[in-house]
Symmetry: C2
Subunit: 465 residues, 2 copies
């Protein structure tokens, strides 16, 4: 059957005529007025009907054909080839249905351990590095970069780690990634599925969740004053162990040299690997940093992980890991599968920043600052909370723990603090089975000196001390 | 037993005396000259022996104690607590052992489909956006950003996708990530392990490898001139289907509207999901883009993925995906686990760049440029290679396929080209079982107009046409 169509083409619209025609046909098909098999008017006919050029009709038909709405049959013309008029736009989920955490207006005193004091970030130096690298490298920035990370940055990281943490590596062992979690994910795929991993209990919950998401078998290993318990490791014999020796993620313990050597010995004897997460090794308050496991290791059993989130800024999203030679091949393959996750320019900006000595300057400055904040915090806790609390994990890192000797649960301690405008954090979540504790975590890096004192005063009030 | 020690402390060194003392003890213990249980001299004694202050000795001992080298016993002083002298530094893997692809000096004519023409990148406009956002947001850039991506950028992406691709979404559905592979990885974890996924065969090999790395059950589904074969999907009934409808990743087919509707119907009826990877939907050469599956979908079955790698630059590492409401909760949780992988500043730079209309300007410009390059390529292939090849997949995207009617295998065709300085790429790798083909892939976006002509001339010579 032949169709009788009367499209109205509006020459005053910005929309070209061929598109108006195209849309007319499309809508008519969607609304079922033009049905599959119907013959379309010939180009010549339609062109004369609508007094438009045949080219205009041709472009419209071409478009319809390209999208499969119509087909041309040899020597018989164009036919609608579209069925299913069920084409109304579906509704979108309403925003209310989803709810993202809205920005809170309330001015909290927030002791979140993940924060740093960004007010000291060397903005102009960073800006300079950024613009310099942009102008210096120009179009080079646009070629697909090295999957493992820019070689220049990896070289600087290797040098830095050797000097500051005794880490022994060459740039080929360094892999850059957009944050520690992504690198942990890559690492999980370097190992076989369903392997067992020893996990400090309490430890870094995000790491545990990533191991779980990769279906690893999590073996909780207790931690004492010297670090992770080797005896328990020997009983469980995991294929892999995840530790935070510089500053045990939850308790703040510094793993002793003997414990480190025992751990390395065990790993060497059992051909197991150790993931050393040195997330804030830069910040120690008594003496120099303890030598890293990677630096002590003689049998290539250690995967070393570090980040610029604490020593520079979390929002830069730049971390790194050092693979031991046995894992290099597989590690490079997996990393290449996901490609490099940090932009070329960010990497070269950081490289420039490090080369100019700005980073070291910044770390030294922050070390002083955090040492001062820590002192203020400890002093405030002593004078305000006194014998009602015990301080733990204060020798390094950017947070402390408080064991609270009051008739309140962890949850109650946190809620009462919140009622007084202070955010402190639970320790129970760091344990695999979230046992009840009476311990809370206070990160001090992101809190001003004034607010540290204020915050502790508020805790005193909140806890009715 | 009491030890007799004679450290030489050099007052002319930059190294503080306490550190020299600390190192002296440490080395002696490592070398076994001071053994576990030996008593160290009292602070007073050593201070007077070396005529240094007791504080200096105290700091050294404190440091040694902190690292577990010595312990103090009540009322009897300090004792070495360190055993195992097996402490020599282990060797690092030699660079030769690892080998990264060294930068090649040879000037190839490289038809890699992943390249874009970066010489047209609006450098100064980008630089301006970058510096503006830096100065405008300043310290705001340093707070930990939104795990899903900056809301402002997600809003702009939602608007753009609605206008240009008919994608219906609100910003809450948009998730930013450092490249398509990372988003695919997150997506894999949104679904249960061991689910089956329909995969266009041939299709995007990297995606297939990521599905395999996540132990999904890959079901190869053939592709015909209209797109993926629905009949085969119905036979296999996968839980999930990964398609590239705008420009079938390997063959360049554009999925017809009917095939799209059949696919959506099947997904709705079987409560399956479709991953629509619209990696280069911006570039179509005949008419407008075909409406996206996501835009046609009425039952929230489509996950839409896009990237700025093709439409802007690969090295920026910015991609996005649009989750349908049923997957939002899980998707947000998994994304938060890995945190946002694109730096706050990169996101806001891009937002600024889009708001200023620079991005749209760039896309239009590149569309013209690529259309021209494509025409030159097709013309060159016709005139140089003529009847010996057949062109496929030329209606959209940034590459074409050549079926070669010559007595050479795919491998031989590529090697002969390489001998003449031209890099072309195999198609067999896109098939799950890498069958032998006589088809090669030529991406033209990253090749200059002159080199396109040159490259094809060289192919003619290489293949002895």
């Amino acid at each position: 059957m032949q169709m009788d169509i009367t499209p109205f083409l509006n020459r005053n619209l910005d929309i070209p005529l061929y598109q108006q025609l195209y849309r007319y046909f499309k809508e008519n098909m969607h609304q079922g007025r033009i049905q599959k098999g119907m013959k379309l008017p010939s180009k010549r006919l339609l062109a004369s009907q609508l007094s438009i050029s045949q080219t205009t009709v041709e472009r419209a038909y071409e478009q319809l054909a390209a999208e499969g709405y119509i087909v041309s049959k040899p020597r018989s013309g164009w036919f609608a080839d579209y069925h299913d008029s069920d084409f109304a736009y579906r509704k979108m989920p309403s925003a209310s249905l989803i709810k993202e955490k809205a920005q809170e207006n309330k001015q909290w005193i927030d002791f979140h351990y993940g924060n740093v004091d960004s007010s000291y970030f060397p903005f102009s130096a960073w800006r300079k590095s950024m613009v310099n690298s942009l102008d210096q490298y120009g179009h080079e920035l646009y070629r697909p970069g090295n999957d493992l990370g820019e070689f220049e940055l990896r070289t600087l990281i290797a040098e830095y780690l050797y000097q500051s943490r005794g880490v022994h590596c060459i740039p080929e062992q360094v892999i850059i990634g957009a944050g520690n979690p992504i690198l942990l994910q890559i690492l999980c795929q370097v190992f076989e599925p369903n392997i067992s991993i020893g996990y400090e209990d309490p430890g870094y919950p995000r790491a545990r969740k990533i191991f779980e998401a990769n279906r690893m078998n999590i073996l909780p290993i207790p931690v004492d004053d010297e670090g992770i318990c080797i005896q328990k490791i020997k009983e469980q014999q995991p294929n892999l162990v995840y530790v935070t020796p510089s500053h045990q993620f939850t308790l703040g313990t510094i793993m002793t040299i003997n414990r480190r050597i025992q751990l390395l010995k065990w790993a060497a004897e059992n051909q197991s690997f150790i993931i050393e997460d040195d997330y804030d090794g830069e910040f120690r308050y008594t003496g120099q940093p303890v030598p890293s496991l990677q630096g002590l290791d003689q049998h290539n059993r250690v995967i070393y992980m570090g980040t610029f989130s604490k020593s520079l800024l979390p929002s830069l999203r730049i971390s790194y890991m050092i693979l031991p030679s046995p894992l290099l091949k597989k590690g490079h393959d997996i990393t290449s599968l996901y490609k490099q996750t940090v932009s070329c320019h960010s990497q070269l900006t950081l490289a420039e920043f490090i080369k100019n000595g700005e980073w070291q300057k910044h770390i030294n400055r922050m070390r002083k600052l955090y040492r001062k904040k820590r002192a203020i915090l400890l002093e405030a806790v002593q004078s305000e909370l006194g014998k009602h609390v015990r301080i733990r994990g204060e020798n390094s890192g950017l947070r402390i723990l408080l064991d609270v000797y009051l008739p309140f649960s962890e949850k109650e301690l946190i809620e009462k603090a919140k009622e007084h405008g202070v955010k402190i954090y639970p320790v129970s979540l760091s344990y695999k089975n979230n046992p009840p504790t009476k311990t809370v975590s206070l990160g001090f890096a992101g809190v001003s000196e004034f607010n540290i004192r204020e915050g502790i005063k508020k805790l005193k009030a909140a806890w009715k001390i």
